[in-house]
């Protein structure tokens, strides 16, 4: 049983990553539910997806302070949805800052030290530069697979399950790059004690 919340910015691909993760959980034989965001919010807005699995899942929504994992595709969005992470939960954070329009215009200030705040709440926070790692694997847009790779060391899904799930979920031409990004992410993060 696990609740995973994926927070990012419209266009970063966290909807696709949520599908890869959910497909993997399905292959493991679990009951799975996800919640996605479509439509207007995808135009560069704050986008959150939720994936839950277990023997039996009712609500597609994760409750506040109950998520086992927070996958933050961007620092501010990680901070925004940190309250959903349970006290024992793990944050996996892409060390990437994308200024929202109010910050670009000088009407608001991007919070400094977002990573430190996340770390002070969630012990064992995993930090990685997913865009850079994905770029090395061939395409920075595969950053989501990199983040899933970092998550994978905390889950008991066999490698073949992840691979199959990526193959089923991403466009055929992007499969190899995403598999590479996944491996890079898997190696990047610290392994759980």
């Amino acid at each position: 049983m696990a609740d995973v919340l994926l927070a990012g910015v419209g266009g970063q691909g966290n909807v696709l990553s949520a599908r890869v993760l959910a497909q993997a959980a399905l292959s493991m034989g679990y009951d799975v539910k996800t919640s996605e965001v479509h439509g207007m919010a995808q135009r560069g807005g704050s986008v959150v997806c939720m994936v839950r699995w277990g023997e039996k899942v009712h609500s597609p929504l994760i409750e506040v302070a109950k998520a086992d994992f927070l996958l933050a595709f961007e620092l501010l969005e990680g901070l925004r949805f940190l309250r959903f992470l349970g006290g024992e939960g793990t944050a996996i954070v892409n060390d990437y800052r994308l200024d929202p329009l109010p910050v670009l215009r000088g009407d608001a200030v991007y919070p400094e030290g977002a990573m430190e705040v996340i770390r002070s709440y969630a012990a064992g926070t995993v930090e990685l530069d997913a865009r850079e790692l994905a770029a090395q694997a061939g395409d920075p847009r595969a950053a989501g697979s990199c983040i899933l790779g970092a998550l994978s060391v905390f889950l008991d899904f066999p490698a073949g399950v992840w691979e199959e799930s990526i193959r089923l979920s991403v466009p055929p031409r992007a499969v190899e790059v995403n598999l590479g990004a996944f491996e890079a992410g898997r190696k990047a993060g610290p392994h759980p004690a």
Binding site: V9, G10, R19, A22, Q23, L26, D31, V32, K33, T34, S35, E36, V37, H38, G39, M40, A41, Q42, R43, G44, G45, S46, V57, H58, S59, P60, L61, E63, V64, A65, K66, L76, E77, L79, R80, L82, R83, G87, D99, P100, L101, P102, V103, L104, R105, G106, D107, A108, V109, Y110, P111, V117, S120, Y121, P140
Partner: protein
């Protein structure tokens, strides 16, 4: 048996296909859009994007009369557009089954209101089914079509955003049943002159009583007896929330929310001193249950606006349930917020924005320069209401912008208080929206000799809902090439003298054309034409700021482009976001923005 993770929308499409649906029609609208896209991807089913929801339903009426099982899909506000045919359809009935899927959007993720479509079921005396997950989406489409044929009535299937866009496990057989009914003329039943309609209305009323018996069936009204003290009545996704919030409670889950299964409700309620209703939006079930003389609590505790979730359901009812029954809340109660976590209000918001290079940006910049009063419509361009463009005065629903501009212009023209606004009213709407509901407003403008300027933001697609084709794009939902409606010729044909096409990336020209047309004493149309930048990018070109030349005046920031940032006293272009539209370079007075070609 296959096992897959499907969204509610995918499951509806699959269920419809398996149930032999041969005709599907819709107009795109979040959260319903993917239903028709998924159905169209399957063989042997005709699917179309109709110009609007009313036409989509009319296509469905025709096809079900013609003997083909049919599905029509729309978002909640789309049913308002389709309400006229919808209200008479129950009188004439169907031949093959017809299901109308209506997707409500509590919380308004992507909508202008959060109306509760269940009242349409009551108003039109049509049964409404409501699934609680994707498996039920699949099963209920088929049940709805069978019910439709058995009782000669259209059937509503109501979903909500969290059903449409949640993926849950579905088990199914990919088998299709045949459905092909003979057509026979029956004018007394299908031609609603008053004399015929008077005969049909009593039939509709009598049918409701029979449908109530269907609603009572165990496949529709599911009773889960657990606690002998706490009983909850619910339906749809709210069932899932209630289940998590009160794991020990007994639950009556209604699969048919209209007509209500009164017998099943009475029987369930008889076990408890009082029952609790968990439902989103209006007290629809609650009112129905109250009318049976049952002690029921719902909206006195649970919010009537916005979305629910398990925590909110728990917090709303826990205290009352404990007081009533002594049963303590068994669900999740979140701890007090941790001191390290900043409150949402302390963080900068991240509203959705128009994309870098979005052609709408140039148009609204030019409108602002002309101090226009802007009557807007529904689409990505509505995002220009936010600063810095802040370029919209009013907006209501699809196509409304044109008639509203006409009315506003008439008010200003006869006003002393607002005399200086006369002649400054401009209406903006998208290409798909213009075809959906704007063209009749334009005919009104010309007919009644209105001085106004209509701007059609022609980005060659229905962008907001995810790039659906429409009658102006030259392609159908089935992927076939077709005639592309010529918007310029159409406007001329209804009598607009001046129709001009301008590229919104050309700011000076756009500004000048708007000025000329606002000054001209006539109805005029400007087609602001450039493909959505997400479909057609300018390859290999971007801009950078020459730091020596930039004076830090922030003029370029007035465009509200996400690729432009201030770094200290100088502007900077984020190159991976820039698409090379050049609009920033056009507004920069010192000429600090330089074009760079990626190939050197």
């Amino acid at each position: 048996m296959k096992r897959a993770l499907l969204s509610g929308n995918e499951a509806i499409a699959l269920g419809a296909w398996c149930a032999g649906v041969r005709v599907g029609a819709a107009y795109p609208g979040t959260p319903s859009t993917e239903i028709l896209e998924e159905l169209a991807a399957r063989p042997d089913v005709y699917c179309e994007w109709a110009p609007n929801e009313k036409v989509a339903l009319e296509v469905g009426i025709g096809s079900c009369l013609g003997g083909a099982r049919s599905l029509v899909a729309m978002k909640h506000v789309g049913l308002n557009v389709a309400a006229d045919p919808w209200m008479t359809l129950p009188y004439i009935g169907v031949n093959a089954g017809l299901v109308l899927v209506v997707a409500d959007d509590p919380g308004m993720h992507s909508s202008q209101n959060e109306q509760d479509s269940r009242y349409y079921a009551r108003m039109s005396k049509v049964p409404m089914l409501e699934p609680a997950d994707s498996q039920e989406c699949l099963d209920m489409v088929r049940a709805a079509l069978e019910l439709s044929e058995r009782y000669d009535t259209p059937v509503l299937l109501r979903v909500e955003t969290r059903i449409s866009h949640s993926r849950t496990v579905v088990e199914y057989r990919e088998e299709r049943v045949g459905a092909d009914l003979p057509y026979e003329k029956d004018a007394v039943k299908r031609v609603m002159i008053p004399g015929h309609a008077r005969l049909r209305h009593p039939v509709v009323i009598a049918r409701l009583e029979e449908l109530e018996r269907e609603a009572e069936s165990p496949s529709m009204s599911v009773v889960e007896m657990r606690s002998s003290r706490v009983g909850i009545v619910t339906s749809g996704v709210c069932y899932q929330y209630a289940r998590e919030a009160f794991p020990e409670a007994s639950i009556l889950k209604l699969g048919c929310v209209y007509p209500l299964p009164r017998k099943a409700i009475r029987e369930f309620a008889s076990h408890f001193r009082r029952v609790y209703v968990v439902e989103e939006l209006e007290p629809f079930l609650e009112e129905g249950i109250k009318a049976l003389g049952i002690d029921v609590v719902g909206k006195a505790r649970i919010p009537r606006d916005g979305e629910l979730d398990p925590t909110l359901v728990g917090e709303s009812l826990a205290e009352l349930i404990e007081m009533d029954t002594g049963v303590k809340h068994g669900g999740w109660s979140p701890p007090a917020p941790h001191a390290a976590i900043p409150a949402e209000s302390e963080l900068p918001g991240r509203p959705p924005v128009m994309c870098p290079g979005c052609p709408h940006r140039g148009l609204f910049y030019a409108l602002n320069r002309n101090k226009a009063v802007v009557s807007s419509d529904i689409g990505c361009y509505t995002l220009s209401v936010l600063p810095p463009l802040a370029g919209i005065d009013c907006q209501v629903c699809m196509g409304a912008s044109v008639g509203m501009a006409l009315g506003m212009e008439r008010a200003f023209a006869t006003s002393e208080a607002n005399a200086e606004k006369a002649g400054r009213v401009v209406c903006v709407l998208g290409d798909s929206t213009f075809i959906h509901g704007g063209i009749t407003g334009l005919i009104d403008m010309v007919y009644n000799r209105t001085v106004s300027t209509i701007i059609i933001l022609d980005n060659r697609t229905t962008a907001m809902t995810g790039f659906q084709d429409h009658p102006g794009t030259g392609r159908t939902l089935m992927g076939e090439d077709t005639h592309a409606l010529d918007l310029v010729e159409l406007c001329r044909a209804v009598g607009v003298e001046s129709v001009r096409v301008v590229d919104p990336w050309e700011l000076e020209e756009m500004e000048a054309v708007i000025r000329e047309e606002m000054e001209a004493p006539r109805t005029s149309v400007i087609v602001s034409r450039r493909s959505c930048v997400l479909r057609e990018r300018r390859a290999g070109v971007f801009y950078r700021v020459d730091e020596e030349e930039c004076t830090g005046c922030k003029r370029c920031l007035r465009l509200g482009c996400p690729a432009l940032v201030m770094r200290g006293e100088r502007a900077e272009v984020q190159q991976d976001l820039c698409v090379g539209c050049s609009m920033c370079a056009q507004v920069c007075r010192p000429g600090a923005l330089r074009e760079v070609r990626a190939d050197g």
